[in-house]
Symmetry: C2
Subunit: 257 residues, 2 copies
């Protein structure tokens, strides 16, 4: 059976590259994937792939180069602080085959923030970027991120990152917002599968997913519909509701942001 | 500056491939990455990369083939249920250049569980696997996963997946457990960076990471140390504690599981 068509084949794509041993070790729970998923949907961009890689230059370079040639935008998170494990800027420079140089605009921001006596060599490393980097302002802790072509280099702490991403709206060209709606019922997936496949076939521009759940000892299913065309979404929601009712479920729509 | 050496260069590696639009859309928060990170550490395996891809065959095939040739083990999650969006088994078969056939052992499990009248065509799809697949028993909801060479194909719901992974212990060959310890202090990263780099240089077989935090209005840093050699870990913890004390911090060790 062929895969269902993409809900947003026309939407520009994006990849997220989460850089950090702390995610891979299980110590820190990722907060970037759900944030980018929702934020990009709202801006009409489709998050098409995420990679989580360790703080190792070879792996970062390979992932950046694999993603920047395939997706419209790439966002990296983590590894741009002042400590020895912050190697993202060097990896980005290598991925673009450029040297790593002091960005004078970034140096000026750090000088203004730290003052001459606190701006030590470690903190100055945060101004090292490839030539041509365009700064991404950091309204929280000042040390900027940077953009190289379609790659946006951002820090790891979620609150800092999110404040910086909000400022990127005008640099990103999206399509219509990608909207998600969901209907649930206490029915088994195997019961609804055939009818749901028919509905997917009739609404090829939507992405329809089925997710089983166990809640308070009861088995149920969430049917999730995504797409950019709100008319088609409303029709498909009605179709799914009718299917679930016909199979003896009591479908409830859950409206999502 | 070269990247720090891997803490566990000798540990067998693993990749996790999370398959599911629901993660990329931001609707569902991933629970697999922290689970695998911790579980694999305990078994002496190093989670070296995670990819999250949509329910699209091309992307699944490409990710499986990229990872299974590089890492000792690959775990996939999601896409093995009965609905139209469950395409993982077909993608795995294609990645291995094999056909998709009914696995008779899986059919027998499904027959026993559902009985003849509830085992419809949709549910029978859950027995379709490439020839040579070895089943992974599912103690929760019965429909099995499967192993093809070094690739372990698992379902999406976390409770079901975790029960199945626990049964895999004897199929995986790990090294010594990878242990994580952490020390925190209310100091800025830029203040500790130089001393911390020296400690990393002296303990090349450990992975030492620095993670800033803002808590109750105060800036601080978590220094996280990982490795398989508990003696070296204890020495490095003492070094980091001395560094942080010397810089006026009040270091506190956080013992992690």
């Amino acid at each position: 059976m062929p895969p269902p068509p993409s809900p947003s084949a026309a939407s520009p794509t994006a990849a997220l590259l989460v850089i950090g041993n702390e995610i891979l070790s299980g110590r820190t729970r990722d907060e970037h994937i759900p944030y980018f998923g929702k934020q990009l949907n709202a801006w009409g961009l489709r998050l098409s792939e995420v990679r989580v890689v360790p703080d190792e230059e070879e792996q970062i370079v390979a992932a950046v180069n694999a993603c920047r040639t395939v997706y419209a935008y790439v966002f990296t998170t983590g590894g741009i602080g002042p400590t020895h494990d912050d190697i993202t800027a060097a990896a980005i420079a290598r991925a673009f085959d450029r040297p790593l140089v002091q960005n004078s605009e970034a140096v000026a921001i750090l000088e203004a923030h730290y003052g001459p006596e606190r701006l030590n060599a470690a903190r100055l490393r945060m101004a090292a970027m490839p030539p041509g980097a365009e700064l991404i302002p950091n309204p929280v802790s000042k040390a900027p991120g940077f953009q190289m072509e379609n790659v946006f280099v951002l820090p790891g702490p979620p609150l800092v990152l999110q404040a910086m991403v909000e400022g990127l709206r005008n640099r990103l060209v999206g399509g219509p917002p990608i909207v998600t709606r969901a209907v649930s019922a206490e029915l088994a997936e195997g019961t609804i599968a055939s009818g749901l496949a028919d509905i997917q076939a009739r609404h090829a521009m939507l992405e329809i997913g089925s997710y089983p759940y166990f809640r308070e000892g009861k088995l149920g299913v969430n049917v999730v519909l995504r797409g950019t065309e709100t008319g088609a979404l409303a029709e498909a929601i009605a179709d799914v509701t009718q299917l679930l009712e016909g199979l003896g479920g009591a479908p409830a729509e859950e409206r999502l942001d």
